[in-house]
């Protein structure tokens, strides 16, 4: 019975995550249109909702072309890595009490490890395409994600210190009285910026900057392999939003409504915020991105860890 329940949770998380990721294709276009005074897709079905289906049919039936000059095995491996790593990260996200695939003691570290493995997808895609723009995109991605990964991990240490655990369920439980966004506001900001950079979303989408690198690392991809990158990106957004919710906004905690509803509300708020950022902000230059990361974000993160640790020591 318990095993059956666990299986149901696994499938539920998988199906819900993939459905939301597909739905985000529609949501993102609608929201971008809203903020640009347009309508977006509104023809296929009610509110254009079946646009998702149309897009999926299109991407599944498109020619799946592998470039003859590409490094075949790596070329095929790359899009799989991004989806696998992100989906594995979902295993540790506690959606509601009891609804978590694997409540690891080191859940947070597992998430960080998986997100750092996600770099391979982009780097290998860029390299195996054997295309100069793809290679440039892969190089940018490697540099950007390595740099931002550093303080993505460090910015969470304040939360870990306050909660006293790496387990995500314990972190949520520790926020029963006060969401961590209040004592860790700086950490929240830093984590959000690092999260956007880590998912390569606008304004930090330099690895795929279409105006300079065509499509960067996935320039040579088509069909469902391209679709995997697409789904991986949207899954990444959901994952980062979920992590922000879990780590800083009390996860499923909230009055009246059941936990899972609160969780979804918070996650959708942050997804919408990411889309708003995309609608509002221009892309920085790459050297600006890197120097901003190392010269501003890293010192701030270290100071945050230091001050949090000192305060916890002083008052504990």
């Amino acid at each position: 019975m318990n095993g059956l329940y666990q299986l149901a949770v696994v499938f539920g998380v998988l199906v819900v995550a993939l459905t939301i990721a597909a739905g985000l294709i529609w949501l993102e276009r609608r929201l971008l249109a809203l903020w640009q005074d347009r309508y977006g897709p509104n023809r296929v079905g009610p509110f254009g909702l079946f646009q998702v289906l149309a897009d999926m049919i299109k991407i599944f039936t498109k020619e799946d072309w592998t470039a003859p000059f590409a490094d075949k095995a790596t070329f095929i491996l790359a899009p799989a890595i991004i989806v696998v790593t992100v989906l594995l990260s979902f295993a540790v996200v506690p959606f509601a009490p009891g609804i978590v695939v694997a409540d690891l003691d080191i859940g947070l570290l597992f998430f960080l490890g998986m997100s750092s493995l996600g770099v391979y997808s982009v780097v290998l895609a860029g390299w195996s395409s054997d295309n100069k723009y793809s290679l440039l995109g892969g190089m940018r991605a490697a540099a950007q994600m390595l740099s931002y990964e550093v303080f993505m991990g460090l910015s969470l240490m304040g939360v870990v210190v306050l909660a006293g655990s790496f387990s995500l369920t314990a972190i949520v439980e520790a926020q029963r009285n006060l969401w961590f966004v209040v004592p860790q506001f700086l950490g929240f900001l830093l984590f959000m910026i690092a999260g956007i950079a880590e998912t390569r979303r606008l304004p930090f989408d330099l690895p795929e900057a279409e105006s300079e690198l065509i499509a960067g690392y996935h320039a040579e991809y088509s069909g469902m392999k391209f679709g995997m990158f697409f789904v991986g990106e949207y899954l990444g957004i959901i994952l980062i939003s979920s992590m922000i919710t879990v780590l800083f906004f009390g996860g499923w905690l909230g009055p009246v409504l059941p936990g899972i509803v609160w969780f979804l509300i918070k996650v959708f708020f942050f997804i919408a915020f990411f889309i708003l950022l995309r609608a509002a902000l221009p892309r920085p230059r790459f050297d600006q991105l890197m120097s901003w990361g190392w010269k501003v974000m890293l010192p701030l993160t270290l100071a945050n860890v230091l001050v949090t640790g000192a305060l916890v020591l002083a008052f504990a």
Partner: protein
């Protein structure tokens, strides 16, 4: 879960063998990443989840990415693969293989002789690791941090261009470009008379 331990160990060994024998550098590195991941699983089964996570984050997630990054930039092609092939003729790996086989035999003997591998029932969590690092091994941590600091300073020094020189370069830059432009214009207009 002894079977998990052995499975992960077998994967690690196989991946490492593949790492050594691949001719394409990127493929070799990918197998090395797999080997590191398998090592992380080994750590996990031995009751050290924290170390396993760090292995994934730091070794597989950061250091190996840098390796791949560098190899990617070097753009090794068919020529490099051919060169590797010429470096690895049939007989050259017999010596190391024999030595490794001896070591492997020793390990097998030790494993067979002992009363089976003891799995510690206690799980070493992050707290214990932290206490150990900042308790008995504080000196080691400090030494390592000094080493890293030295590396950081050295890298900064190597990457640092002297400021005034750079500034003067920048101010001269425009002048030089306009000079080049002028000469180009001159080259255009100073054609010999009568030339088309």
């Amino acid at each position: 879960m002894p079977w998990m331990f052995y499975l992960a160990g077998a994967v690690a060994v196989a991946a490492t063998i593949m790492t050594i024998t691949r001719l394409n550098a990127i493929h070799a590195l990918l197998y090395f990443v797999v080997s590191l991941l398998a090592a992380a699983v080994v750590f996990y089964t031995l009751g050290a989840p924290f170390i396993a996570a760090l292995e994934v984050i730091i070794y597989a997630g950061a250091i190996m990415v840098l390796f791949i990054f560098v190899v990617m930039m070097l753009n090794v092609g068919e020529r490099a693969v051919a060169m590797e092939r010429s470096w690895l003729p049939g007989g050259i790996w017999v010596g190391p293989a024999v030595l490794a086989a001896v070591l492997f035999a020793q390990v097998v003997y030790l494993v067979m002789r002992g009363p089976g591998p003891e799995y510690p029932r206690t799980v070493v969590g992050p707290k214990q690791v932290g206490l150990a690092l900042y308790g008995p091994y504080l000196m080691g941590v400090e030494l390592a941090s000094m080493l890293l600091l030295a590396g950081l300073v050295a890298a900064y020094h190597l990457g640092w261009r002297r400021q005034p020189e750079q500034e003067s370069k920048e101010t001269h830059f425009d002048e030089r470009r306009t000079a080049v432009g002028r000469s180009a214009v001159r080259a255009g207009t100073d054609r010999p008379a009568g030339a088309p």
